[in-house]
């Protein structure tokens, strides 16, 4: 791809200062409650998602801390076994369905996607609002079920346990089923937006990489979510009335349940992590002032992960009684996902090469993210190595691995996005020093929490254990200590960001001097994103070459 650098005019400057007064930012354009609750503006919907997602993150985080405290001693510490089993189930459910899946796409995706495509809104604004309310309705139903009896199956709902347990399975499953619709609607919306709403100049291979990542994510959401929806309904009905679809006493096959479950739930990991990859592609380009090294490779690898990731699900079932042949097939495909991720990692490091690095808070998170992704990804490959998984399956090694990916990659990216786009969304700046301090705390606390868990897994501690043999205690204490550090980091972030929201200094239009497409409009943007004529985009995003010596080689 050759960027058309011959056009001297900078990307787009649609907004003129003199218009500014007539076009208030989306934050103040309508201040009634109704103007927020019934808005179809993608930015306001994104903000409302941000509110709820953070709330559920807090709930899930509290559950996590309760779990860690309970595991301080080998015996009972603060709760009984049933409460513990419910707590880790709720931690998983809240974090996955209510926080992780909507976190980046529904918040930052909603906010940034139209801005990055030069569009005024997503393709179906009313559906977008609907997806918020579907999400809330599902969340209420699920939480109601959780409070009225709780659910103790683990978030995996494996039959036959989930079919027989006396806890409230059905409302929680129906809640998750409804939340699935929200995810599907968001996915459809993003795909159609990418296809039909791109502004002049933005060809497929000039879309920002965050958009590519969201596109790949949306494909997964659209194709995988219906399957889990059906499966959740099947299990709920089975739990209520015993129709026996997966009942081994009637010829049903519990392993078939696992196949269908992981057909969604493995790609769901990529629903959570691909947007994180997209965010980090933006952050690394913006803070090292470089075009992405191997743009096409990163874009294609998103699609590659989305596609191959669908057919690696069987690596969750190596010791479930699945056939050796199937294990080999899934094991080999798992390796391919690793290769696609490796391409991304190398290209991010390559992006910094010959760049101009500004070590700000988002970039600090990028550093943490890079390490966590490599380590989490490589341990994922280790787990996908069939014979090693025999020992590691369902131990704390797995727990540590997926927390490295989900917390290490996704939450680092979520925080990086929050800091990088904070001035874009609110027009204010936070305190940089506190940002770096809390980033350091979080990265350290995270390592201290989860590296001991890798060792616990090696040592043989299974997951979902309420009590454990005493030889595991030292590492558990270390992990809990790390978790408290992690929690402390989050509290600091909450404090200075809340402060910045009210008292932060005005950020100006583009505090990072970023050349991402989303920075071409005002910060915060006006209601319909652009004032004045439709902007055009002659340059590729993150094009930091001095126009005077713009000799650009052909990219791969």
């Amino acid at each position: 791809m050759t960027p058309s650098s011959s056009i001297a005019a900078p990307g787009a400057t649609p907004a003129h200062e003199e218009h500014h007064d007539h076009h208030p930012s989306y934050l103040v354009d309508g201040t009634t409650i109704r103007s927020w609750l019934l808005t179809v503006d993608h930015k306001r919907i994104g903000l409302m998602f941000l509110f709820w997602v953070l709330l559920f993150f807090l709930v899930g985080g509290i559950f996590a801390l309760l779990i860690r405290v309970e595991l301080l001693t080998p015996g009972p510490t603060i709760m009984d076994a049933m409460t513990y089993n419910r707590t880790f189930t709720l931690h998983g459910l809240v974090m996955i369905f209510l926080f992780m899946i909507p976190a980046i796409p529904a918040v930052f995706g909603n906010f940034m996607l139209p801005l990055m495509l030069g569009a005024k809104d997503v393709a179906f604004p009313r559906l977008n609002l609907l997806s918020l309310y579907i999400y809330l309705f599902g969340a209420v139903l699920a939480l109601w079920g959780m409070l009225n009896g709780g659910l103790d199956t683990g978030w995996t709902f494996y039959t036959p346990y989930s079919a027989h347990t006396t806890t409230t399975v059905a409302p929680v499953l129906f809640g998750a089923f409804i939340i699935g619709f929200s995810s599907i609607v968001t996915g459809i919306n993003f795909i159609v937006t990418c296809h039909t709403m791109r502004a002049p100049g933005i060809t497929w291979f000039k879309m920002p990489l965050f958009v590519w990542a969201l596109y790949a994510t949306s494909c997964i959401q659209v194709l995988a979510t219906p399957v889990i929806g059906l499966l959740l309904v099947l299990v709920a009905v089975e739990n209520i009335s015993g129709i026996g679809m997966f009942d081994p006493a009637r010829g049903g096959d519990p392993m078939l349940f696992q196949h269908l479950f992981w057909f969604y739930s493995h790609p769901a990991v990529y629903i959570m992590v691909l947007p994180a990859f997209g965010v980090m592609s933006e952050v690394v380009a913006a803070f090292s002032r470089k075009n992405i090294f191997g743009y096409r490779a990163v874009a294609y690898s998103s699609l590659g992960i989305a596609f191959v990731g669908f057919f690696a699900w069987g690596h969750h079932m190596f010791v479930s009684g699945q056939s050796t042949f199937a294990a080999g097939m899934f094991g080999a495909l798992t390796m391919l996902v690793g290769v696609f991720t490796a391409i991304k990692v190398f290209n991010w490091v390559g992006t910094v090469y010959k760049g101009a690095v500004d070590f700000k808070t988002p970039f600090a998170y990028f550093c943490g993210f890079l390490f966590f992704t490599v380590f989490g990804g490589m341990t994922g490959i280790a787990l996908g190595t069939v014979s090693l998984d025999v020992a590691w399956h369902d131990t704390y090694f797995v727990v540590a691995h997926f927390h490295f990916i989900m917390v290490g990659a996704t939450i680092m990216a979520f925080l990086a996005a929050l800091h990088y786009w904070f001035p874009k969304m609110f027009g204010r700046m936070y305190h940089e020093g506190w940002g770096l301090v809390s980033a350091a705390l979080i990265i350290l606390g995270f390592n201290a929490t989860f590296i001991p868990q890798f060792l616990l897994g090696n040592n043989g501690m299974p997951r979902r254990y309420y009590e454990y043999p005493e030889r595991f205690q030292a590492l558990n204490v270390a992990s809990t200590a790390g978790a408290s550090l992690l929690a402390f980091g989050f509290i600091i972030i909450a404090m200075y960001l809340t402060y910045a929201l009210v008292y932060g200094r005005a950020a100006g239009k583009n505090p990072w001097r970023s050349k991402g497409y989303e920075w071409l409009t005002e910060s915060p943007p006006p209601t319909h994103n652009f004032v004045g004529p439709q902007p055009t985009y002659p340059e590729e995003p993150h094009f930091y070459v001095d126009p005077k010596k713009a000799e650009v080689p052909d990219a791969v």
């Binding site: 005024k120 393709a123 604004p125 996915g187 795909i191 039909t196 219906p226 009637r250 010829g251």
Partner: protein, 221 residues
């Protein structure tokens, strides 16, 4: 791009263009692409059941052949014909909507709805027969005629897939009723404005498409 319709209705009303779309064509394109994506999710929804079907059919071929023969093939075929014909009328409704013949649109949709009701009535008779003789899912199975392992599973899959399909028939009927009411009340369908009928009919064709596959799977094992 204005030439996308060859027989233009004379005073065809133009629908509202949402502010964020470039043109009507793009808006319609977006709606259609969105609908295709939604239909893809529907296909994947049924795919979960198809996988259950495939695996259990693979494991219990004899039980499935025997259970399948306990269904009434004639009723199934009649239902197939009814649904295919309703698909034809739904397609004709779009055809007339493009030509701006709103009366004809309403008539065709009404015919479609009538056949949908017929389908459900036939399905009701099939269901009540099963409740009567006891070919029911899982632990409710009490039919003495087929005593093979796997037979109750067949009826679990049967009831779940036909019930899910029936639910889609109902949703499709609701969607088409909207279009019909609009064709009667506003009567503003025309060469530039037929997306609503088109999407509703696409949904209806999907319902038909799913049945086309369910029919051999369930009745012709």
């Amino acid at each position: 791009m204005q030439s996308s319709v060859s027989t233009a209705g004379a005073a065809a009303p133009v629908p509202r263009l949402a502010m964020h779309f470039a043109s009507l064509e793009v808006q319609n394109h977006a709606a259609r692409l969105g609908m295709w994506l939604f239909l893809a999710t529907e296909i994947l929804l049924f795919a979960g059941l198809f996988v259950c079907y495939g695996v259990y059919r693979f494991l219990f071929p004899d039980a499935w052949a025997a259970s399948s023969r306990s269904l009434d093939l004639t009723l199934g075929t009649v239902n197939t014909v009814v649904l295919i014909t309703s698909s034809l009328t739904a397609a004709l409704a779009v055809h007339y909507a493009k030509e701006g013949k709103n009366k004809a649109v309403a008539v065709q949709i009404a015919l479609t709805l009538l056949m949908a009701c017929g389908f459900l009535v036939i399905k009701y008779f099939e269901y009540s027969h099963k409740f009567h003789i006891g070919t029911l899912p899982g632990r409710y199975y009490f039919y003495e005629g087929i005593q093979l392992p796997g037979a109750p599973l067949y009826f679990t899959v049967y009831f779940f897939s036909t019930a899910l399909h029936g639910l889609h028939v109902l949703i499709g009927m609701a969607v088409l009723t909207f279009s019909m009411v609009r064709a009667l009340k506003k009567a503003d369908f025309g060469p530039n404005n037929y997306t609503m009928v088109e999407l509703g009919s696409m949904y209806w064709h999907l319902v038909d498409l799913v049945w086309i596959f369910l029919f051999p799977m369930l009745y012709l094992v």
